[in-house]
Structures are given as structure tokens and as C-alpha cells.
């Protein structure tokens, strides 16, 4: 499914996604929280075909409170596994807008990402797809829901995921 939308909309959405990628790679945590709507969620399901998050196991399912908790942990001086910390680098591409609400300007957009994570002499590689529900506000887009499906969702994981992919 793909929607016909203006070049301006396509560009604005792509800019938003690219900026989000940069924010999380560079650990700009205040900027990260500001990307989400007040009731926004970051969701990584535990299986590829999972349809709902509530009441089921998930890899990530976090609102702004839980995201802020995670940030507080990684910034804590005694977060031992953050010394050294992980370094992330990602590319987001294949940006396809699925729908644009004519009245509100809200967007559903899917995209792909490739990312490497380096920590303690080890490099891990992740690939997958994002699906963003973006809310149009006076201040630009805010994430209502970001769904992240990683290719290796069933693992095994050689280490945990300390921050969001």
C-alpha cells in the first residue's frame, strides 16, 4: 500500500525520519523524547506477525515514562554496561508513505533501516523496517506509534538492546 502525496510531504516525512535516526545514533536524549506525542509509544514486537502490543510479550513497548527511565539509566554514573557505551550508526531508506489524512495531515509511513552497533570490540548488525504513525502538530510531526520489526526478531541475541534501534 502506498499513497500519492506531494513532494513536499514526502520530503518533510523523510527529513523527520533522517533526523530521528541522527538523534538516536548521537544520543540526543532530550530531542529523542521531544519526537514523541505525549501518549506516543515505541514498539518492537516479539514476533514478525504480531498484531497487538498490549497484554503480550514484546521486545520493546515503551511510553514516554519508560523511555525517560531508560535514558536515566544509561546516563547514570553507575550504569556499568555503559562503560564503554555502544556506538550506533544507521541508514534509513525506502521511505514509502502509506497514507496521509487530508484533514489532519497525519501520516502513516514505512521505511527500512540498516544499522551497526559497536561495543567492546564487537560489532553487531541489525536490519529491519520501521512503521511510523505521525501526528501533524503546529510544531511539525510527532510520533504516535513507531513499530520496529527487526529481521532477527526471534534471536538469539548475543547481548541485550540497551537503547532503541
Amino acid at each position: 500500500m502506498a499513497a500519492i502525496c506531494s513532494v513536499e510531504t514526502q520530503l518533510a516525512v523523510e527529513r523527520f525520519l533522517y533526523r530521528q535516526a541522527e538523534i538516536v545514533d548521537d544520543r540526543e536524549w532530550d530531542a529523542w523524547l521531544a519526537l514523541f506525542a505525549e501518549d506516543g509509544k515505541y514498539w518492537m514486537p516479539a514476533t514478525a506477525d504480531q498484531e497487538v502490543a498490549d497484554g503480550q510479550p514484546n521486545i520493546f513497548y515503551e511510553d514516554l515514562f519508560l523511555m525517560e527511565m531508560r535514558i536515566k539509566r544509561v546516563c547514570h554514573p553507575y550504569a556499568h554496561s555503559q562503560a564503554p557505551t555502544q556506538r550506533l550508526s544507521r541508514v534509513v531508506s525506502n521511505v514509502i508513505i502509506e497514507s496521509e489524512d487530508g484533514a489532519t495531515g497525519d501520516i502513516v509511513v514505512r521505511s527500512k533501516f540498516h544499522l551497526v552497533e559497536y561495543r567492546l570490540d564487537d560489532q553487531r548488525y541489525f536490519g529491519g523496517k520501521y512503521r511510523h504513525h505521525l501526528k501533524q502538530t503546529d510544531d511539525g510531526y510527532r510520533i504516535q506509534l513507531q513499530r520496529v520489526d527487526i529481521a532477527n526478531v526471534e534471536g538469539p541475541f548475543g547481548y541485550v538492546l540497551q537503547t532503541w534501534l
Partner: protein, 439 residues
């Protein structure tokens, strides 16, 4: 040990310390597989993982690849995942439904869920040559198989104690305490297995599970972050934060609290940590649970069940179980410095939804691949393993905390404090016994 000298693994274990070779030496590891993982009772899975005929789930017992399957007659079978024809793995998927029969991907021999031959293609080549009933042409069953309250175990040795005797009172408590909390006396597994590989020896994980000194230190950051957000949640919304926040905040309880807990050591290395979390607050979920259990068993028995405060049980050598939160982690050694953990949780049949939500919250916050708790544990495990793999720098690992102070009564050992290193000493007593009993 010098070349040519016979190694006595028993010498590696002393009353209050162990030699680093037990964690890092390849030969010791191989011997552990032979003497422990290929002999003792190892957890395979829960019978509710394979609810329908044809269902199967694969796992490991030591170096062996095993299948747990459900036959058309409802029986659960534990088989080696190996084709009797030319040896291929039969199931490549982690789990699935095989329909009426397993079908080998190489030459399409087919097997019923109990491993017996169903069909062989172009069988004229075998006419008058083999008898399909000859066991050498069936998939091989685990040497022994046992079921304790729905939890399936296998032993790859024909000899030794039966399952219930092997588990004893200490390990049976793990499963009893899960099942008893259900008004129907049964647990049902949630069909999701998180798999995380630890870059460390399997024993390091089991020891850490009952190490009550480490949480306030290792998990300092997570406990602080959770406590801060618990407060912020309340301030902002007026409501108490969800239970998961408390689970995380509890990791940084003061040392006096950890000190007040108990650890109990049982034969065969099974070990418990009791006390810890007060999971009987006066909230509506707990009250509904009490009501459901009272209906099923009466008030007195309900009180007995919910007062059982076994926080954590090591079912040696393969499981870490947290019965009050219905969590189970199975240990699958892949090498001296590599361990797969299979991480599960359960629903209590007939219990209120809120009880499951608690289990799910713990599963998410502590046991999922995004856990902020095990982030620091796994980081420790890897650092421990790397320290122990060195040739120099010292040979022994200290287990001296409160050594010589344990009390033993009828084969059951009690520590004087929750922070004692008695659990490690108890597990190593079994290790020494298992590693040397054949000699």
C-alpha cells in the same frame, strides 16, 4: 595440571573456594557434559508448549539436539532430533506442527510423533532387507523422560534416581509453587521464548541468580532510574506507577534487606532464595486472586499457598525459576564460555488477568532482550569469564562469605544471611559429587 597427570576434578572444589578451571577449561567443560548434562535430569519444556497432536518444539540437552512432540494419542515424547537413515536433523525449525508425521528433508523417511517409522519412499529397495520395526530405524527416544506437574524433563542416561527423587523437596517447590497459585493447580506456558546468549560459563549465571550481594551494586543505575520515574509518574498522573516500576526499584534495596533473606541448599545442588518481594499487597488483583484460591481450596490453604515466599529456585543444573512471578530460564551450555538461555513465563490457569499482567511486566522489564537489568548482569558475566580465562593472576575463586557458618539439618543447608555464598558452595558440592561419582 601437568601433562600426563590424572586430573581429579574433585580437587578443583574446596569448601570455600573453587579453581578457575571449572569455568574456563575446555576439558572440564566436556566432562561436565558427560557427567552432568548427559546424565542428570534436564528440563525440556512444558507440556502446554505442544498442545495439539503434531506440535513440536526443539531444544538442547548438553550437546544433543532434542525434540519434544505431541502424538495423536495425546502423549508427549522426547526424541533425539536425528534421522535414523543417514543422520540428518529432522526438525530445522525451532517449533511448529508436523501434521501426522515428521518428514526428513533428505530422503523423506517419515516418523510418527513417538519416533517410529510411518513410511519410507520407494521402499522396494528395502524389501527383504530391513524390518521397519527394528529400533535402529526409528528416531531414538531420550533414554528417560519424566513429567512433574506438566514440566517435562529428560535424562540421557538409563541409570540414576527417578525424576521426583532427583528434584527432591528443594526443586519440586519451584513447580509446586507455580502450580499451586493457580485455582486449577496448573500452569500454562506463554508460547514465546526469548533467547539470549551469555558469553560466559553456565555456572556463572546460576550463581548470580542467588547472589544477593550484587543487585544493589550491579543494578544501582536501574534501581535509581526506576525509583525516580515511579515518583514522577505519580506526580504527573496522580496514579501509582505500574508494578513493573517497583520490580525494578526493588533491585536497589538496602543491604540490611538482602541480609534478612534466607538461602536454603538442598541435595543435588538445588538451591532457594526465600523472602524478598512482598507480593501480597492489598490491591484489587491480589484480593481477587485470594478469592479465586479460597473458592478452589478454602481460606486456610489459600493462605498457605500465598504465604509461600520462595523467590527464586535453582533447579540444578539447568533452570532458574521464579515461582511467584511465573518466570523460568533454562540454561543450555554451548561451550565453556558460551551459554544459551531460553526464557519463558507462564499463566496461572483460572487466576485473575492482573496476575498474568504482573508476570508479563516482570518478563518484559527483567527478562526481555531490552532488559535494563540483565544489561548489567551480562556485562558482568562476560567480564568474569574473561578474568577467569587468564593463565596468570591467581588460580582460585573465593566463596568465603559466611563459610563455615551454615547449618545443616537432614541434608538441608541454611545460610546465616541472605548474602552468604552458601548457594554457590551448595551447587559446587553437587558438581563435585556428579563429576567424581563415576570414578
Amino acid at each position: 595440571m601437568p601433562d600426563g597427570q590424572e586430573v581429579h576434578y574433585g580437587d578443583y572444589v574446596q569448601d570455600d573456594r573453587v579453581h578457575k578451571a571449572v569455568y574456563a577449561d575446555q576439558a572440564v567443560y566436556e566432562s561436565e557434559l558427560d557427567n552432568i548434562f548427559h546424565k542428570k535430569w534436564i528440563y525440556i519444556g512444558h507440556e502446554s508448549q505442544v498442545p495439539n497432536p503434531g506440535d513440536y518444539w526443539t531444544t538442547w540437552v548438553g550437546k544433543e539436539r532434542m525434540i519434544m512432540s505431541r502424538g495423536s494419542d495425546g502423549a508427549v515424547h522426547v526424541l533425539y532430533n536425528r534421522c535414523p537413515h543417514r543422520g540428518s536433523l529432522i526438525c530445522n525449525n525451532e517449533h511448529g506442527n508436523a501434521g501426522k508425521a515428521f518428514r526428513c528433508p533428505y530422503h523423506a523417511w517419515q516418523f510418527y510423533m513417538d519416533g517410529s517409522v510411518r513410511q519410507v519412499p520407494m521402499k522396494q529397495g528395502y524389501d527383504g532387507v530391513i524390518d521397519y520395526k527394528d529400533p535402529q530405524f526409528s528416531m531414538v527416544r531420550a533414554e528417560r523422560q519424566g513429567n512433574y506437574r506438566g514440566f517435562i524433563f529428560a535424562s540421557l542416561s538409563t541409570e540414576g534416581e527417578d525424576l521426583e527423587t532427583y528434584l527432591g523437596q528443594g526443586a519440586r517447590a519451584a513447580f509446586d509453587d507455580i502450580c499451586n497459585r493457580s485455582p486449577q493447580g496448573e500452569a500454562e506456558i506463554v508460547a514465546n521464548c526469548f533467547r539470549i546468549i551469555q558469553h560466559s560459563n553456565w555456572k556463572i549465571f546460576l550463581e548470580n541468580q542467588l547472589d544477593a550481594v550484587h543487585p544493589s551494586i550491579t543494578h544501582h543505575s536501574t534501581g535509581d532510574a526506576a525509583a525516580a520515574m515511579q515518583k514522577k509518574y505519580k506526580d504527573k498522573t496522580g496514579d501509582d506507577a505500574p508494578m513493573g516500576y517497583q520490580f525494578l526499584a526493588d533491585f536497589t534495596l538496602p543491604f540490611e534487606k538482602w541480609d534478612s533473606l534466607q538461602t536454603v541448599g538442598f541435595p543435588n545442588g538445588h538451591t532457594q532464595l526465600t523472602g524478598y518481594m512482598g507480593l501480597r499487597p492489598r490491591d484489587p488483583v491480589t484480593l481477587a486472586h485470594e478469592a479465586a484460591l479460597t473458592d478452589a481450596y478454602g481460606a486456610e490453604r489459600m493462605d498457605e499457598i500465598l504465604s509461600t515466599n520462595v523467590h527464586h529456585v535453582i533447579v540444578y543444573p539447568c533452570l532458574s525459576v521464579q515461582p511467584p512471578l511465573q518466570q523460568l530460564r533454562a540454561v543450555r551450555p554451548l561451550g565453556p564460555n558460551k551459554t544459551l538461555t531460553e526464557i519463558w513465563h507462564f499463566r496461572l490457569k483460572g487466576a485473575p488477568d492482573g496476575i498474568y499482567e504482573r508476570a508479563l511486566a516482570y518478563y518484559y522489564h527483567v527478562n526481555s532482550p531490552s532488559t535494563m537489568v540483565n544489561a548489567d548482569d551480562l556485562n558482568n558475566f562476560r567480564a568474569i569469564q574473561e578474568g577467569l580465562a587468564m593463565v596468570g593472576g591467581g588460580d582460585w575463586v573465593s566463596l568465603h562469605r559466611n563459610a563455615g557458618q551454615d547449618t545443616v539439618d537432614n541434608g538441608v543447608t541454611h545460610s546465616v544471611t541472605g548474602m552468604s555464598e552458601m548457594p554457590m558452595r551448595n551447587m559446587f558440592a553437587a558438581w563435585k559429587q556428579f563429576m567424581t561419582e563415576g570414578n
